[in-house]
Symmetry: C2
Subunit: 219 residues, 2 copies
Amino acid sequence: MSPTARTTPTRGRHRVVTDREQLHALLEDALLAHLGVVVGDHPLVLPVAFGVDLAGPDAGGSLYLHASVAAGWLDRAAGADVCVTVTELDGLVTGRSAFHHSMNYRCAVVVGRARLVTAEDERLRALDLVVDHMVPGRAATLRPSTRKELAATAVLAVPLAEASMKARAGGPGDDPDDVATGTWGGHVPLRWVAGPPVPDADCSTPVPADVLARAAALR
Amino acid sequence: MSPTARTTPTRGRHRVVTDREQLHALLEDALLAHLGVVVGDHPLVLPVAFGVDLAGPDAGGSLYLHASVAAGWLDRAAGADVCVTVTELDGLVTGRSAFHHSMNYRCAVVVGRARLVTAEDERLRALDLVVDHMVPGRAATLRPSTRKELAATAVLAVPLAEASMKARAGGPGDDPDDVATGTWGGHVPLRWVAGPPVPDADCSTPVPADVLARAAALR
């Protein structure tokens, strides 16, 4: 992890994760990122799918986002400093006081200059990575994208170099006085689960192995 | 919903939800928000707990956030325009082409001037709302916060007036040509589940009803 002033948490330092492998594991696990862009006089935060290439051309590896070329925020993001935050909520921390209520989570914050990817081979690779991030192995099973589809899609790369990660796990950090009263304290674990894949109504072929495996991994 | 230019989606208009009750329902369901703040030369996006008071003093109702008074971003948020985005991921859309892969989700984007709450009664009420948002009914079961705890906690209110919501559900919007090939297409539903509450090791009292109910609601 190579934190700069922009990605050095100002508090909760005991929750900072400095191991880059944990950052990479979180990025592999999480399905959703939140992209922050400055639009005019205010920040805008939008949910986005993403892909990761740790051997990508950007410092620290490349985080890839895709967007419609018609997306209003695209012009504000390309070439600008953006923030990509990936959070997995792992539980609710139900302390013995309001003050010690908290959440268990893993969170990566990446700040970097977003680069509009123009080289066709990198664009194709990035789009495959975004699909494979959702369902590992899926890109190779699909027909090639058409020229029209590719022309409608923009790809942004954000360097992973400037990143920080925080994580919290376990029960509340309650005051000893509150623990001594015998009041209950603990936490409620949370996780994603997938239901069985839902085929389209007009679909008579069996569910592909990659989709079954994706759902099975979240069971 | 009273969208302004700042909260009018530039594309995907068919996914825009204009019913304010659906926005309110999403805010009630979701446990986590992502707060966007402009810090110096870049946006910063952080995961935050939140509470909602639809009858709060801000236009459209009040969304409340809390923070340590030591949080580095607090000074940049108080009095500034921020973005609070709440996203629930409902599924992976596994289309017959890369282009028609997507996600099912409900997402609210709120842009507004963050107000540092200073009146003590509103602060106390907001902190109760944040705790009750995690575990409904829990605030009333806890001891009152101490003066020291309250002095360490900042509360921000964001008006809910300027908001937009988008949602997607169901299977892929595949091209008829791809459907005709017989290739499989569909979606994978995703949802949160809670595990059984985990009491602290030193805890001999039974799990309180509010915590049990919270976990049971996510089963």
